[in-house]
């Protein structure tokens, strides 16, 4: 079974984000990039599938700061092959990333029939769409998102996927392969890999660096950022005063105002 995992680097929001002069983008000089959280779960699910059914796990990423660390970590965890698409443009939008991923996959005879394509259900910077459905659309493949578990009937070329709904309800789907899945959470938390193993992978393994495909379809972005701003953080809670009944009434108004009641 060929399992392909699409990985994206996103800004690390633990570190303070700053807006670049001009006010339309993050200040790249101050950004630290990290693997998108749900992509880490997609990788874990891929490794679990490989352990269960055998196969080859290929991780594919666009070049970005710190992406080599993420790819070597994936190799140390058990991925078989790591591919990095260079010169895919700085800070590609999700739509552009999807075109690049799909375009590159289409040009690979050995990957064109990837049985399962996994990526995170969504990333914190998915302003113009979600990656999994965009790649599915480009490749004319079926898509299912919010997936938390996969089982595969390899000869039958069907995956059974568990999708999460609100209220703890889950749906069990059969999906004909090949297909693209947006992974919400792997069956178990992403595994830990000792740093020594990552350091060893950096010495002994290779990341294949490949040029970006020539894209026919990518046009100008359809979504334009006019301005970015930081919501003013509340340094201290707004204090509600009065008797228990009075403050309770105020809380009710706040909850109703935010749609929680």
């Amino acid at each position: 079974m060929n399992i392909l995992v699409l990985l994206r680097m996103v800004p690390d929001v633990v570190e303070e984000l700053e807006i670049a002069p001009g006010g339309k983008a993050l200040d790249a000089d101050l950004l630290r990039m990290m693997l998108s959280e749900s992509d880490g779960h997609a990788l874990e699910e891929a490794l679990l599938l490989k352990e269960r059914y055998g196969g080859v796990v290929t991780v594919l990423a666009l070049d970005a700061p710190e992406v080599d660390d993420a790819l070597f970590t994936a190799l140390a965890k058990g991925a078989d092959r790591a591919v990095k698409i260079s010169d895919a443009g700085e800070n590609p939008t999700t739509l552009e990333a999807a075109y690049t991923f799909a375009g590159w996959i289409a040009g690979q005879p050995d990957l064109a029939y990837a049985d399962v394509i996994l990526t995170g259900v969504q990333a914190i910077d998915d302003l113009d769409g979600l990656l999994a459905p965009l790649v599915a659309h480009q490749m004319r493949l079926p898509y299912l998102g919010i997936v938390t578990r996969l089982a595969v009937d390899v000869p039958g070329r069907v995956a059974t996927a568990i999708k999460e709904y609100p209220g703890g309800v889950r749906g069990e789907f059969d999906v004909d392969l090949p297909a693209v899945f947006g992974i919400q959470a792997a069956e178990k938390p992403p595994r830990y890999v000792p740093v020594a193993k990552v350091r060893a992978a950096m010495k002994s393994r290779q990341i294949e660096s490949v040029p970006a495909p020539t894209l026919a379809e990518a046009g100008p972005s359809l979504v334009n950022v006019v301005a970015m701003e930081k919501p003013q953080p509340a340094e201290w809670a707004a204090m509600l005063e009065g008797s228990p009944e009075q403050v309770s009434g105020k809380v009710c108004e706040i909850l109703a105002g935010t749609g929680l009641l």
Partner: protein
């Protein structure tokens, strides 16, 4: 006093591993084990371990190590140095055998406890186990009330490079310790500077928590930062960092003077004395941290400092000095509370706090940044938080300095 520094083990050509252990002097010591069981008897979790140190050595000699690795009970080793301190043969269990065994255990675990995994990943990425932003490491400096030089901003040579460490940079009660230290250094006229946001965890708990790769990464990083600046000695607030700088960093060229804040300040007793004007009418009991006490035998300096504070009455717990009971935070225990709890183990911090309360003291004085949150939490859980407070020795010194011009 103390032990010779270990042979360099980081070089790839002569890495100390379990397989080649006996080729090294540290390993061949194991052969001298007389199976007396003092280690197992003194181990705070010896009763819950499948294979306490004595049995571990026996299994190793019998070639049954895989069985030891298959058990996760070594997770409960809190690197307290008690077994090592009690070994009649002087076998350096905590320094050599246990880390190697733990490293193997890690690779055998089906799943790392989530809390520990998060701490290790955060330490790698942000340089601190709490996952706080690395760029806010020096944010506390603004609240110190005295000037603190950050070398990246002002790289002139300094006498003392103060290595602040993680809990003392980020944890609010740890920052109290840092503010106190800064005020004392300032009052003593010490020429000091800090690394600020360039500093990352020294990594000692990485090593003792199964993660030599993480430790090496942090060592490489911190050594490169040290080498950018000029200073005479490193003084650190964290006994674990002190341990790492003393025993491991020299292999990478660490050759500066080294001290922990508490013994360092004890060296300034004469100058401190006139500054300590405010009377603190506390009965104080002092907890010997494992790294500072058993590992470095700094038993008297903290006590000397406490007794210099006017009004302080020092009382001792039943277990003190070499017999001190670990707070449970070392060797990764800091991030295994949930795991211990799930296993039904008693929390060592609670065991320790019960002894402290029994002395009737008002204050539990400590010298390790791990201990403040651990003991404050234990006091809360046991309902003793009205009876007793926890203070770092530096906090008490600074409190007694208050009101000075």
């Amino acid at each position: 006093m103390g032990h010779p520094i270990l042979a360099p083990v980081e070089s790839e050509t002569c890495q100390l591993t379990l397989e080649n252990l006996s080729r090294f002097p540290e390993g061949s010591e194991l052969l001298s084990c007389i199976q007396c069981g003092a280690c197992a008897g003194t181990c705070p979790y010896g009763d819950v371990m499948d294979y306490p140190p004595r049995r571990m050595i026996a299994m190793m000699r019998a070639g049954l190590l895989e069985k030891v690795f298959a058990s996760d009970s070594l997770l409960s080793c809190v690197a307290c140095y008690a077994c090592m301190a009690k070994c009649p043969r002087g076998i350096r269990l905590t320094e050599v055998l246990l880390p190697l065994m733990k490293e193997q255990t890690l690779t055998h675990l089906p799943e790392l406890p989530a809390e520990l995994q998060r701490a290790l990943q955060s330490t790698l990425r942000y340089g601190n186990p709490m996952g706080e932003p690395s760029r806010k490491r020096a944010a506390w400096v603004k609240t110190a009330g005295v000037p603190i030089r950050i070398l990246a901003e002002d790289p002139r040579p300094a006498d003392v490079l103060w290595f602040v460490e993680c809990y003392t940079s980020f944890y609010p009660r740890g920052q109290d310790n840092s503010r106190a230290t800064a005020r004392i250094f300032h009052a003593l006229g010490i020429d000091f500077a800090i690394l600020g946001n360039e500093e990352k965890c020294a990594g000692e708990c990485g090593r003792l928590t199964w993660e030599p790769g993480l430790f090496e990464t942090l060592m490489d990083y911190n050594m490169a930062v040290f080498q950018k600046y000029r200073f005479h000695r490193v003084v650190t607030s964290c006994p674990h960092a002190h341990n790492a700088f003393k025993n491991r960093y020299p292999a990478l060229g660490f050759n500066w003077g080294l001290d922990h804040t508490t013994p360092f300040l004890a060296g300034y007793l004469a100058q401190l004395k006139p500054l300590l004007r405010r009377k603190l009418s506390y009965a104080v009991t002092y907890h010997d941290s494992c790294c500072l006490g058993r590992q470095n035998e700094f038993y008297d300096p903290p006590r000397l400092l406490l007794q210099t504070i006017p009004g302080v009455k020092l009382v001792e717990m039943v277990h003190n000095r070499v017999n001190s009971i670990c707070c449970g935070g070392g060797g990764g225990g800091m991030w295994l509370d949930t795991y211990f709890k799930a296993k039904g183990y008693e929390r060592l911090s609670e065991r320790r706090v019960k002894e402290a309360v029994a002395t009737g003291a008002d204050v539990l004085a400590v010298s390790c940044p791990y201990e403040v949150p651990r003991f404050e939490d234990a006091l809360k859980v046991l309902g003793h938080d009205k009876k007793m407070i926890v203070r770092d020795v530096t906090e008490l010194l600074a409190e007694s300095m208050e009101g000075n011009p």
